[in-house]
């Protein structure tokens, strides 16, 4: 289904990121090289605090790498804000906007008239089970509803590259499954490239062409697992031996590098 | 930017409200001039009101607006820049202003003697300046009042150091009535004294010219040198009409106060009735015609100011005033 990439959608060349707290330096992203092909679906897993969100920030252009370069579409892209659709880990709904107005924000920023934008968003709100809350303010939503609005907002941004940071973390299994389907449909039919950060290894394997495992801070890619399972992948695939093997592989890789031992002994 | 032309007198927001100007229909032939008043309308302004009311200004082709700036000192600046054609100011200020290069000239004396005086309350034991020794004297914080008091004290054998000066801002009477101070200087004996009486107290008044201060003109009508150069004839017409106004007022004090109250309904009538009775004689006391100024008064007063350190630099008192308009109006 996927043809060989004409170029790399995203290319990170030896990127590192260091934060400074006062005089204390904290390197959160080790030297990291990453290439994502056009139309590829890449999953990113790694321990909490390893720099996944930072990595997405860097790709989106919100943060600049401390060293290294980010290339987009085969060219260096020192200024790359607005070139990707980025769903942040926090939902970041603007509290003074209704659900609808939050969702259509990216359209509004592109100068699309409100009527047209709303016409485009409303069917999606319906599908995402938010129709009743079109004119509600974020403070009146449940956690999962907020996340759905943020997800919709990202979809509406309509960029070839999607960066998703834990997009379904606050959703129940079913809503999650439903949104995952949407995401896959979009990806397949609209030729998107997706980088998905998730803590759910099953989710990563179900959706991705390739899963990258990051080490604890400073985050580096320690393992690349190509998910050579046929698509579409029904949920039942989780019991498929190949799937189980891949999952065990990812978990083992994560466990091997975990800094946090499971301490059963002692309170 | 230079100030706008003086003819462009701004429409007062209340031209149709309290401003008296509105009552007289303005015909196109009239020339608009304005007078910056020294203070909110009081009995000393009745001459101007009369001149307007009885049509003297109209007869000489003038439409006169009266305006009240924030600070008495600002009058001279407003006149000098032409914002106001004429202004009511003080002899002291005219000399001070000229020393600073502000080109204003007195064209008529409005009051022939000082009104500023030292006031105390009866029963305070103050009857003469030297009685102030060891007492607190309130004043508006102005150097000229310090000089006046110093002269009076020295004239009566005391010194300024003997009294405690207290700057009470603009609350002279209240400071005195509340016994915060034992006496005040800077109050008019034809105005504040009456306020004191109205509160049921009896003031003791020490007039400055009786205690060593050279006699001077409390209030004078001023205009700018520019106006004198360019519109001498207009000044002449103004002075002529003004004099007739003051004559009318002097002739009928009751009508004058009536007029004041009519045009400024928030006037304290009782205060002004008594005030004009004391003030009116001073308009012409000892002079052949209203407005007359003696050169000697100007030179003596300037000398006194200089001696007291009030006046720095060279000021020729003889250029600070002119009698020619008053004389011609005779």
């Amino acid at each position: 289904m996927k043809s060989a990439p004409l170029h790399w959608r995203v290319e990170l060349r030896h990127v590192t990121k260091t934060f400074y707290r006062g005089r204390q330096a904290l390197t959160v992203l080790g030297p990291l090289d990453l290439r994502v092909a056009d139309r590829e679906f890449v999953g990113l897993v790694g321990p909490s605090g390893c720099g996944k969100s930072t990595l997405l920030n860097v790709i989106a252009g919100i943060e600049q790498p401390t060293s290294g370069e980010v290339w987009l579409d085969g060219e260096p892209a020192p200024e790359r804000l607005g070139r990707v659709a980025y769903m942040h880990q926090r939902d970041l709904l603007l509290p003074w906007r209704t659900v609808l107005d939050n969702a259509i924000l990216p359209l509004e920023l592109r100068g699309i008239p409100r009527r047209e934008a709303a016409a485009r968003a409303l069917p999606w709100l319906e599908r995402f089970g938010l129709a009743e809350f079109t004119h509600a303010y974020p403070a009146q939503l449940s956690g999962g509803m907020r996340q759905r609005v943020a997800f919709l907002r990202t979809l509406l941004a309509d960029r070839p590259l999607l960066l998703l940071d834990e997009p379904f973390g606050a959703l129940d299994a079913l809503t999650r499954a439903s949104l995952q389907e949407w995401l896959l449909t979009l990806w397949e039919e609209l030729d998107r490239t997706v980088i998905l950060v998730t803590h759910d290894v099953e989710e990563a394997l179900l959706l991705s062409d390739r899963v990258l495992v990051l080490s604890p801070r400073p985050g580096r890619i320690v393992r690349e697992i190509v998910v050579d399972l046929p698509r579409p992948r029904p949920y039942e695939i989780v019991t498929d031996p190949r799937f189980v093997r891949l999952k065990a592989e990812v978990l083992a890789e994560l466990r091997a590098r975990s800094t946090m031992e499971v301490q059963f002994d002692g309170t | 930017r230079q100030a706008p032309a003086p003819t462009a007198t701004p429409a007062s927001p209340t031209a149709s409200g309290t401003s008296p100007g509105a009552t007289t229909p303005v015909t196109t032939s009239l020339e608009a001039v304005s007078v910056a008043l020294d203070w909110y309308p009081w009995s000393n302004h009745t001459g101007l009101l009369m001149a307007r009311e009885r049509g003297h200004f109209r007869d000489v082709g003038l439409d006169v607006t009266l305006e009240v700036p924030a600070n008495p000192e600002d009058v001279l600046k407003l006149v000098a820049t032409g914002r106001n054609t004429f202004g009511i100011s003080y002899q002291t200020d005219v000399l001070l202003a000229r020393a600073e290069g502000i080109p204003v000239v007195s064209i008529a004396a409005l009051v022939q003697h000082p009104l500023n005086s030292v006031m105390a309350l009866e029963g305070s034991g103050i009857a003469r300046p030297r009685d102030l020794a060891g007492k607190k004297v309130g004043y508006p914080g102005l150097p000229s009042d310090e000089a006046l008091l110093a002269t009076m004290l020295e004239f009566d054998g005391a010194r300024l150091d003997d009294v405690t000066l207290v700057n009470v801002g603009f609350e002279l009477v209240r400071a005195l009535l509340s016994r915060q101070v034992d006496a005040v200087i800077g109050a008019y004996w034809v105005h504040e004294s009456i306020l004191i009486e109205q509160q049921g107290e009896r003031p003791v008044i020490l007039r400055v010219e009786q205690w060593g201060v050279p006699d001077f003109y409390e209030l004078v009508m001023v205009t700018s040198e520019q106006e004198l150069r360019d519109h001498a004839e207009r000044v002449q017409r103004f002075v002529r009409a003004m004099i007739r106004g003051y004559q009318d007022a002097q002739a009928d004090l009751v009508a004058a106060v009536d007029l004041l109250v009519r045009e400024y309904p928030d006037t304290n009538r009782a205060l002004e009735e008594e005030g004009i009775r004391r003030l009116a004689p001073l308009w012409t006391e000892g002079v052949p015609i209203f407005g007359w100024q003696e050169a000697k008064r100007w030179t003596d007063y300037a000398a006194w100011m200089q001696a007291r350190g009030l006046l720095r630099g060279e000021v020729d008192p003889n250029t600070a005033f002119t009698n020619r308009f008053v004389e011609a109006a005779r």
Partner: protein
């Protein structure tokens, strides 16, 4: 039901307090024999209020016009300044100090300039009102525009929003609560701005009335005018609150999101 009773109590008790303050004041003036030319008893003030109602009303109209115009221009000026200051470090460093300095220029220095350049009309009064009012709005707006969650800004930037869009979409809505704080302050002090402005040469307005009444020892009238000014201040302050509630519907709805 309990709520209704509470509301009523909430209205009655403050009224009682107000009444007792008045009574206390009345009593104090009598017991301590505070002269009326210092502080007239409320009864005298109310009498003056009734007696001079037409006078007060006429002068009030003038003052209200100055206040209205002044507040309007203050808001506009403050918005322009605040946006300039937050948008450009250059503007901030060169203009902000001047803005602050403007708050230290007393009327003594300003009055002659205002009169000479603008005459005795409405303009100088409005300028004084603006000078008094624009500052709290501007400062609050600057702080408000700067204080928004930086992640919201990042969000808009990540969608390709320009800095102008960031301003419109995030900073300005986020700064509205602060803006209204500033506006509240401005509304309350606008009246005194007009009173000061009227002191700079005028023939009408509550400020004019007060000075004249004070110089003539009509202290009851002074306080009647003060009372009217105070009511105007409270009214404007309250109006800002109402406008704020209408302008920020999302704040009303904010409750435990979970």
């Amino acid at each position: 039901m309990a709520r209704d009773r509470l509301l009523t109590r909430d209205r009655i008790v403050p009224l009682l307090i107000l009444v007792s303050v008045m009574l206390g004041w009345e009593l104090a003036t009598r017991v301590f024999q505070i002269p009326r030319w210092v502080l007239p008893p409320p009864s005298a003030v109310v009498q003056a209020l009734i007696r001079d109602q037409r006078l007060l009303l006429r002068h009030l109209t003038v003052t209200l016009e100055e206040v209205g115009l002044g507040l309007t221009f203050s808001v506009l000026l403050a918005i322009v300044l605040a946006i300039g200051i937050v948008s450009s470090r250059l503007v901030e460093r060169s203009v902000y100090p001047l803005v602050v300095a403007s708050q230290a220029v007393p009327i003594v220095a300003l009055a002659p300039i205002l009169l000479i350049w603008f005459g005795y009309g409405l303009t100088p009064k409005v300028i004084v009102v603006v000078l008094v009012c624009f500052f709290p709005i501007a400062v609050n707006l600057v702080d408000g525009l700067r204080g928004v969650d930086p992640e919201f800004v990042d969000l808009v930037r990540s969608f390709g929003g320009t800095s102008w869009q960031t301003l419109r979409v995030v900073r300005i809505p986020g700064a509205l609560p602060a803006f209204f704080s500033g506006l509240r302050v401005a509304a309350a002090v606008s009246v005194i701005g007009a009173l000061i402005g009227e002191w700079v040469g005028s023939s009408a307005g509550l400020g004019y009335l007060m000075i004249r009444a004070a110089s003539q020892f009509h202290t009851d009238r002074v306080f009647a005018a003060v009372l009217v000014s105070a009511v105007v201040s409270i009214g404007l302050f309250w109006i800002v609150g109402v406008v704020e509630r209408i302008a920020l519907p999302w704040r009303r709805s904010a409750r435990t999101e979970t």
